[in-house]
Chain length 359, copies 2
């Protein structure tokens, strides 16, 4: 190869011949073109946009050495095939929620949302400093995957209903979209949990295929227009008190990256994780005002009796997971110990302060 | 320059002549050796270690193209000279808390902690999605600085005391280490606020130069051994409900970086921000148990009457800031509007869930 052609191909331009070289390094690397399949409609507020942000941060930090093309639900694979698609390498990355994959391993539900479990901030504490991330990695490793937490919705809403929930009897026979462990709780009390992707909720509620649904919180629920097909909007989201969203990474593809790009990918996930929780926290209230004031949605708190019953049943369901397989037992024990500790700390910190602020 | 010498200097090695070049890019850049001065003792748990983490992430993501050497309090400059040192370019980065610089602009206190203000999660929501960051950048720009949020302690403790706080009278004449707006509140109720760096707290309390002190939370306070020189440990930390730690960046140095490194620096700050809040959340409770069980610290909640009085005075102090200068007014108005909105949202989310979880 001729020197001039070589320099042109590298695009080094004037820098290569200038004095700056005396204190410079050069990194010549392959360019990586990755695909990210997601469980959300393309550009969906908060979730789809977080996938976009993640891709953008990776491209910008790497100076374009790695670019990630984001695909919405069904553009490359449907929402619920994201796990398999990344596992087999159809895409190098995925963006979803770990509870969607409970068919692979029941324990995976702990890494998204546990009824009456942890808030967003507590989930991050558990994942990064409580041993959660190590357990998650252990499970995904068997599927040729590496997980990363890449977002959190904060405390969700309990959901949209067309009848009031006054007693536990009102949940009997209720066909409600609610995935993961929350769905199992509903099943235990006589309801009929349904798991469908977000994009299908509106029409299912409209057609009567569903009686009720949860989705995320005001910001997302407003975007889906759920107020048009349901009357009551209940809180708090006992079933998803701080749902972690995940980035799935194909392990083989990840280890083909040089170290600096590996670090860029993982750090981008962490920054995106904080970004989503910040966005939802900031935007939910504004959306809630719009729902209540403009769209006349009736905002209601679940009765204490209902919450207490759901809490007891949730603990039964969650602890039952421990009996399913050794890994589920291991995750349950780690999670439960952390949850017990954190409840003590919150009593003198977040909970005590929030109370003091409204005295 | 001879082609061989050129390639050797770039360190391209075999890649440069291999087939991989057909899909490769090369980045030839200066190496940047930065210094970071901090307001904390070197390697201090949570705070000093966050500065180390930030430096590590930047080095790893850049493949060593930018390295940051971290200096503890007094190693290069004392804690309270961090702002000036970075502003004049003695160091390219600093790691501190914005309320230390209220002498530069009173409004800066909003970007660390406001009494009865926002929790850590809410601070991040305000900074990233509520307009807070833009205002902060506007102020620092006049000093040749760029700010970034790089950590949050979560809700702090109210502090260490050698006498019980039963009424507001117990705060009169109290010499207490408490910086920023919390200090002004203490002054208003007849106490004597003192601002000294963390590293000087223990000896000041031991010598009797201080009657009381706040510092951070159990994890940090245990590390400083404050239980050895004070008897009562009060909660909640009304004066610092979610303190943001900052990275100060010299603007000129920042814009000398190529785009990819600029993005690496800013994204590392965001990831470090989440990391610190996660670490404090996870580790505070364990430390609290050690303090109470092992060191027999008496844990006490501030009486509601005291909290109510402090809340009223805090609002007076904080709103008074708005009259000081146009920028303080602008920040106060933005912050207050956001705080009012977020309180509505928390009532149906975090606060409602935490209550439901302990029914």
């Amino acid at each position: 190869m001729k020197r001039r052609a070589f320099i042109q191909r590298l695009g080094l331009g004037s820098v290569a011949t200038g004095t700056a070289l005396s204190s410079s390094v050069a990194i010549a690397k392959e360019k990586f073109r990755w695909k990210m399949v997601t469980a959300w409609p393309k550009n969906f507020p908060g979730l789809g946009t977080n996938a976009n942000l993640l891709a953008k941060m990776i491209a910008e930090m790497s100076g374009g050495r790695i670019t990630v093309k984001v695909y919405g639900d069904k553009e490359l694979v449907p929402a619920f095939e994201v796990f398999d698609a990344v596992s087999r390498g159809t895409a190098e990355m995925g963006h979803a929620g770990a509870y969607y994959w409970k068919g692979k391993n029941e324990a995976l539900q702990f890494f998204s949302a546990v009824p009456f479990g942890l808030t967003g901030q507590e989930m991050n504490a558990w994942l990064y400093y409580g041993g959660g991330m190590e357990l998650w990695r252990e499970i995904y490793n068997d599927f040729g995957l590496i997980p990363a937490a890449t977002g959190n919705t904060g405390v969700q809403m309990a959901g949209w209903f067309n009848k009031e929930i006054k007693t536990m009897d009102d949940l009997k026979g209720l066909k409600m979209r609610v995935p993961g462990l929350g769905g199992e709780v509903l099943s235990k009390v006589g309801g009929i949990p349904v798991t469908i992707p977000g994009g299908e909720i509106f029409t299912s509620l409209q057609s009567g295929a569903l009686d009720a649904t949860e989705w995320v919180g005001p910001y997302n629920d407003l975007a889906f227009g759920l107020y048009k097909v349901a009357k009551y909007y209940y809180y708090p989201g006992w079933h998803e008190p701080g749902t972690t969203l995940e980035c799935l990474i194909n392990k083989k593809a990840f280890f083909e990256l040089p170290n600096d790009l590996q670090n860029i990918v993982m750090t981008a996930c962490k920054a995106a994780n904080l970004d989503m929780l910040s966005e939802f926290t900031a935007r939910n209230n504004q959306a809630l005002e719009t729902l209540v004031v403009k769209h006349k949605v009736q905002l209601k708190q679940l009765p204490d009796e209902v919450l207490k019953s759901l809490s007891i049943i949730s603990e039964e369901i969650v602890s039952h997971l421990a009996s399913k397989d050794p890994m589920s037992k291991k995750v349950y024990q780690n999670f439960s110990k952390f949850r017990k500790q954190i409840l003590n700390w919150e009593k003198v910190s977040e909970q005590a302060f929030m109370r003091a602020r409204t005295l």
